[in-house]
Symmetry: C2
Subunit: 233 residues, 2 copies
Amino acid sequence: MARTRPETRRVEEAAVDLPEGVAPPGTRGRILRAALKLFAEYGYYGASIRDIAAAVGINSATLYAHYPSKEQLLADLIVVGHEELHRRLLRALVESGSDPVEQLAALVRAQVLAHADFPLLAVVSNQELHALSPQAAAPALALREHSAELLLRVLDLGAQRGIFAVPDVRLAATAIGSIGIRVANWFHSGGAYSRERVADTFAEFALRIAGAAALPGDAGTTGPPPVAGQSIG
Amino acid sequence: MARTRPETRRVEEAAVDLPEGVAPPGTRGRILRAALKLFAEYGYYGASIRDIAAAVGINSATLYAHYPSKEQLLADLIVVGHEELHRRLLRALVESGSDPVEQLAALVRAQVLAHADFPLLAVVSNQELHALSPQAAAPALALREHSAELLLRVLDLGAQRGIFAVPDVRLAATAIGSIGIRVANWFHSGGAYSRERVADTFAEFALRIAGAAALPGDAGTTGPPPVAGQSIG
DNA sequence: GTCTATAGGCCGATAGAC
DNA sequence: GTCTATCGGCCTATAGAC
């Protein structure tokens, strides 16, 4: 394993954590968390079975009593990551009303919070998927498709109703999704911004991209109201 | 090397290419291009010296007549990538007027076009930097800092002049930058959108994030003008 | 500059004792 | 379930012939 290089991290230092209830108990769970940390930091090919075992404090052979292969370890992590995001997005939509503005804000808030709460998991899910065989990657890809569809449908509905004004729905979805995905690469809980602050601000940005109004009660913006000819529409 | 897995690519298929004038002539240049392709597809640790040599059609030992180490190959690529982006951003600013709106649009257009023109180089520059030693990474990190500073200064200036209306300049810069960076992961020249279309649309999104007006002559948006209470400001 | 050959080491995974 | 020991293979890099 390469040495730790704080200046060039793929992801900020984070308490290694998995969503509640998904880590297996005992040694198996400790292996999964160690793999998460090392895959996030060094990549799948950059972290060895021996590295993971050493981080847990067991012999590398012992690892195979808990997982059949290194690839299965990665596959489990990536499924967990995609499931957690999809679950949060669904819940956000369910808890929203029928207003596309509210729905879009809820989706973006949920995506940002998921990436802020589990940055290591998000980095591994997004940047190490390529190391899985197509069969092992398929479940995660299906979940990814469903998650993308949720955002696209909300944007489409809002555009059809004239609530959103956007030059291209698919490019808007791509742009909005990109903002949230990258949160995993820079957010850390001791940083300048709270998770809620980022989520609220990025939800506001998503509404602006969509050409919608700010939600009532949202954080105000600095600067004057728009001058003539600068309103969006 | 792992097999090719089209379903789970880190980057879309792309003509392997480097900015004009940066690839060395002859075998050395062919090695650099092969390394670019393989590092982008499999990551630094996922592509071996033997893989790169095989792609060029030479023996792995021959590679060391051209490059002193595998790490130097990566370091060269990453410097080239960061230099190209910084060069384009500077030129975009120089060719812009003093209007922050025009400057922001020009910066975003330049960033998007750089990532669309050299997606492999962008992916390697962004996602493999962690594999370099701090010394080898330092030049690229300095360039990255300068590039980020350009965007931040334009946003700051516009906000101070009341031309932009943004809740947080740093978060706005992060969001705008994220949209462009991710272009390298999904754009391909045979796809549904031309590079110019993406650049124009994402420049428009950046202006919306900044709370600015669309540039005159920009592509129109679908949907009606905003209803009362939905204008940005 | 390109090759063959190989050094020296780490890789994922397994066998078998306890 | 954990260990020691090890297999067969691939890794980066070098030596030395041509």
